[in-house]
């Protein structure tokens, strides 16, 4: 079938128990995406609740220090709940409410998507249950408490690698038990159609604003647009309106963990192969028999063995380039941005910052490099302290 395809990628590879739920979601989304009242309500929430439009910030000190391209940061970290995740969640939870659902469930890695979902559910009056790998509940304990504070139930997933992929497995299982009253708020541009398209649409507000903002500030388009990629929601949001601008390079920064050449990595494009998993055809880290590989990244939000199907297609066509960035480079960028600009980035976003630090000096002063700062790094202070062997009282 051609529906929900990005080249050979995408599709709807899910159990029959979920098919009608996904088809109903598709029908409802098609109906509401062009509905003026729905869009007005969503815009109102995005602007007056989440704090959009987010700022496009000229990182003057970083630019001067690195001595190359002008560096701009799209400040998704300043959104309510501290990351780009709220853009998608407000759209989906509002849609769930219109569809008459009384309960939302979601997976979360670093906890940002879980916090955003719990927030939107609290605001819009829906019950909320979050599934999070046990390892992630430990490395992101603060976010677990935030979710509970917001009224959500948090389930620690103890199967498999106890990280993001296992949280997705468990949320899919839970959804198949309760499709009638429950909507699954998928947090990234992955899963079966229509999720990759719908989440991309909700996140594309990032590049719609950023493109206008950079044209207003500089009167020209950037040479490169950079974002970190796990499943790929902030990056697709950041790329989307620049895709037709072929002169703008699109760079996705994958989590290389200890290095793309090691087995402690989550760099899907660098090390993965085409496969079918979590409802979609795309690239996945896997072994020769198609068993999904355990992956590693210091950043829980990028610790995922796959990538969204639209990214897989952007890679196949060469429109976007995906580069691996290691844990150590990300931690260095985390500290650098904190000390240079006074902005503590999420470890996920620090992967994009690390690429900018390396690329900007190689570009001319006339060029612009624009990076998505997808989230704030308060949640990662303890992780980085542990990484550096610094004892702190959490």
């Amino acid at each position: 079938m051609d529906k929900g395809r990005y080249g050979i990628h995408g599709g709807q590879y899910i159990p029959e128990t979920l098919m009608n739920a996904v088809i109903s979601l598709e029908d409802n989304y098609e109906r509401y995406r062009n509905d003026k009242a729905f869009n007005d309500e969503l815009t109102e929430l995005l602007n007056n609740y989440a704090g959009r439009p987010s700022r496009l910030y000229y990182a003057r000190k970083m630019t001067e220090d690195l001595g190359g391209a002008k560096i701009y940061l799209k400040r998704e970290d300043l959104n309510h709940t501290g990351s780009h995740k709220i853009n998608n969640v407000l759209g989906q939870v509002l849609l769930a409410k219109k569809m008459g659902k009384s309960r939302v469930i979601a997976e979360t890695g670093a906890g940002q998507h879980g916090v955003a979902t719990a927030t939107a559910a609290a605001l819009l009056g829906l019950q909320c249950e979050i599934f999070m790998g046990k390892e992630d509940t430990e490395r992101q304990a603060l976010n677990v408490f935030r979710m509970k504070l917001l009224g959500a139930k948090v389930n620690a997933v103890t199967s498999g690698t106890m990280t993001l992929k296992d949280a997705v497995n468990e949320t899919m299982r839970e959804w198949s038990k309760n499709v009638s009253d429950t909507h699954y708020v998928l947090g990234s541009v992955m899963g079966p159609h229509p999720f990759p398209m719908m989440v991309r649409d909700f996140q594309s507000v990032i590049s719609r604003e950023a493109r206008e903002q950079i044209l207003q500030a500089e009167g020209k388009l950037p040479g490169a647009v950079v974002a970190c990629v796990g499943g790929g929601s902030n990056s697709i949001g950041m790329f989307y309106h620049f895709i037709p601008d072929v002169e703008v390079k699109l760079i996705g920064c994958e989590a290389a963990g200890l290095g793309a050449e090691t087995d402690k990595t989550a760099a899907t494009i660098a090390t993965g192969h085409v496969g079918v998993f979590h409802g979609m055809k795309s690239y996945f880290c896997q072994d020769e028999y198609g068993q999904i590989a355990p992956v590693h990244s210091i950043s829980a939000g990028l610790d995922y063995p796959g990538i969204g199907p639209e990214h897989a297609h952007l890679h196949d066509t060469g429109r976007a380039t995906y580069v691996p960035v290691t844990d150590s480079a990300a931690v260095m960028a985390f500290e650098y941005l904190s000390q240079t600009e006074g902005i503590i980035p999420a470890l996920e976003s620090a992967h994009a910052v690390a690429y900018v630090m390396e690329a900007a000096p190689r570009m001319s002063r006339e060029e612009i490099i624009l990076a998505c700062l997808s989230g704030r790094g308060d949640k990662d202070a303890a992780v980085v302290a542990r990484y550096k062997g610094v004892g702190i009282n959490e």
Binding site: Y13, Y289, I292
Partner: protein, 258 residues
Amino acid sequence: MNRVSNAFLNKNGKAFIGFLTAGDPDIKSSERFILEMEKAGADLIEIGVPFSDPIAEGKVIEAANARALSCGTTTDTVFELVRNLRAITQIPLVLLTYLNPVFKYGYESFFECCNSVGVDGIIIPDLPHEEKGELTEHARKNDVRIISLIAPTSKERIKRIAESSSGFIYLVSSMGVTGVRDNIDTDLESIIKDIRAATDTPVAIGFGISTPEQAKALGGISDGVIVGSAIVKIIERHGVNAAPYLYDYVKSIKCELI
């Protein structure tokens, strides 16, 4: 010749379909367990190809998948198991596998192997009707039946799925994942009526069946019952020594189907 239909000849009552995960606790035991279930009256065996992330399975079968993988079971080991069984038995054998191991093996090679070792059918829980097209030609060429699933939520999809079904139809008794349930309250009779209106393909009911009473009731309205988690639990408890317990259990269910 494909053997799936032999399970539904009704010469010996309704079909009993037993499931186990290949390689749990090891591949030699799987061979013994399958032969033992056949001796106890099983009409068809569903062999699970272990997968790292079995999203349609409950805790019991998920744990069996992990045990099988940790002792080194691969797609090739499973083919070897079927090849060995075929030297001894003609019982219909159907593989249950998630799509990725099939995709990674290569559709063409996978189905050629199925044919050469004697696999009669394949159940792929994460391959819905709409995406089946990419496999059908390979399956047909190699005389392997793709078993379709129908769920309580399938509704208007039933007709379409039933019309293109082959081998048998796997009717999912209730929502959620595999695992033992106390009560099954789906209106299965009306779903079966819709299926019968569209096709002659036999219908077997699975998900949540563990007791002789459930088997009797569900066998009464269908062409057979599928038991998975209850069997895997016995294997989990008794390990390599599970054979006699499996025999007694399968016998106790099968006698309700005659």
